[in-house]
Symmetry: C2
Subunit: 212 residues, 2 copies
C-alpha cells in the first residue's frame, strides 16, 4: 500500500519515537514540531513532512500529543509487538549483545544464540544456552524468527548471512566489517564503528590546516 516512502524517512522515525518516549517520561503531553526539532537537530518542516506520509497526527495551533504520536509511530514501525531475534557468534561482541539490556524493553527478544565453537556450546548466556550453529537452520524453521544478528568474524559472515536468508530471515543486523550480499526483499543494517571513525577523520583533517 504505502510503497513510496523514502528510506531516509523510515530511518528517522525511530529517532522521533525515541525522543517522544523521553518526553513522555519527562511528563510532557504536547510537543510542537519546532520543539521536537530543537531536541533532535532537525528542521520542524522535515518532521511535519515526514509525518505527513502517514497521516495527520497533530492539531493546528497546539502541536502533537506526545503519547498519541508515539503510539502511532510505534504502530507504523511495527513496534507494537515483540520481535524474535537470533544471534550468531558469541565472541566478545556477541556476549555483550546477548547480555545487553537495551533490546528487550524495546520489544526485541533474543530467543537463541549460536556459535560454531563446540567448546562454548551449552554454556548459558543472557538467559539462553549457546547452541551449535549447525542447528541454526533447524531452529529457524521450527521457531518463527524475524531478525538475525551477525557477530562472527568477517570471513564467516557471508556464509552465516546466506544461511539466515535461506531459512527465511527477513532482516539482518550485521556487525562484521564487510558488505553482505542478500537477495531483494531482505533488509540489512550494518554497524561498524571503524567505518564511522574513518569518515570522521576526513572532517578533522579538513579543519586542521597545520599538522599533516
Amino acid at each position: 500500500m504505502t510503497l513510496e516512502i523514502p528510506e531516509v524517512v523510515i530511518n528517522r522515525l525511530p529517532v522521533y519515537a525515541r525522543a517522544l518516549a523521553d518526553l513522555a517520561d519527562a511528563g510532557e503531553s504536547v510537543v510542537s514540531s519546532q520543539a521536537l526539532g530543537d531536541l533532535l537537530d532537525v528542521t520542524p518542516a522535515q518532521i511535519r513532512k515526514d509525518l505527513s506520509y502517514f497521516g495527520r497526527f497533530g492539531k493546528q495551533g497546539r502541536g502533537y500529543n506526545v503519547q498519541g504520536l508515539l503510539a502511532r509511530l510505534r504502530e507504523i514501525l511495527g513496534l507494537d509487538r515483540r520481535w524474535r531475534v537470533v544471534l550468531v557468534g558469541v565472541g566478545r561482541l556477541g556476549q555483550a549483545i546477548a547480555e545487553y539490556g537495551g533490546f528487550s524493553p524495546q520489544g526485541f527478544e533474543i530467543v537463541a544464540v549460536f556459535d560454531s565453537d563446540r567448546e562454548s556450546v551449552g554454556k548459558p548466556i543472557g538467559g539462553a544456552k549457546i547452541r551449535h550453529s549447525d542447528d541454526l537452520d533447524a531452529f529457524l524453521r521450527t521457531n518463527g524468527v524475524d531478525i538475525g544478528i551477525v557477530a562472527v568474524p568477517a570471513l564467516a559472515a557471508q556464509q552465516v548471512v546466506d544461511r539466515l536468508v535461506k531459512a527465511g530471515i527477513q532482516a539482518i543486523l550485521n556487525y562484521a566489517p564487510m558488505t553482505p550480499h542478500v537477495p531483494h526483499g531482505v533488509t540489512v543494517r550494518n554497524i561498524d564503528p571503524v567505518l564511522a571513525m574513518q569518515s570522521m577523520t576526513f572532517y578533522i583533517k579538513q579543519r586542521e590546516p597545520a599538522g599533516k
Copy 2:
C-alpha cells in the same frame, strides 16, 4: 579547499577503502568500477562519480590500480596516520570496545579510558588503566586527543559530550541512545543497534500481509 563534497560521498569512501584492502589481500592488482560495484552493491557510475570529486585515479580500458587507489583514499580520509582516541564509560560495552582488536590496525589508538565509578579506577583494561572521569579535562588538555568514544548511560551522555567538546575534541563516536548536541565544527556519528532494528521492522511488516 575541497569544501563542497557531499557527506554521503565521504561516508562511502571508507567502504570503498575496505573493499580495496580486501582485494589487495586477495592478490588483485586492478579493479574496475563495475567489479567494485558488484562487490559493494553500488552502481559503477556512483563509484566513478564519487572518486571524481578528488581526482582521476583510473585508467581507461583497464580500471583502477588496487594498491594505488587504496593509498589515495587513505590519504584523502586521513588514514595515513594514527589517531588518538579516548573512551569514556567502561561498562559492559566500554570493556568490549577497549578490548576490541579492530581499531588499532586501522590506526585508531585508544590512549586512555575513563569512568566515573571510583571502584573501577585503576583497573587495567585493553592495555590502559581506567582513570577517573574527573581527570578527563586535564588529560585531554595535556595530551593531544582527536576522537572521543562515548559509552555511558544515555542520561550521562550529554554531559560527557559537553566535556569532550569543551576540551577541544573534534569528533565523537556516540553509543548512547540519544541525540547529542554539539557546536558546529564537531563531527558526531551515532551507533545504535536498537534504532537500526526499529527501522528494519517497518520493512518486515510491509512484507507480511498476514499477521498484524
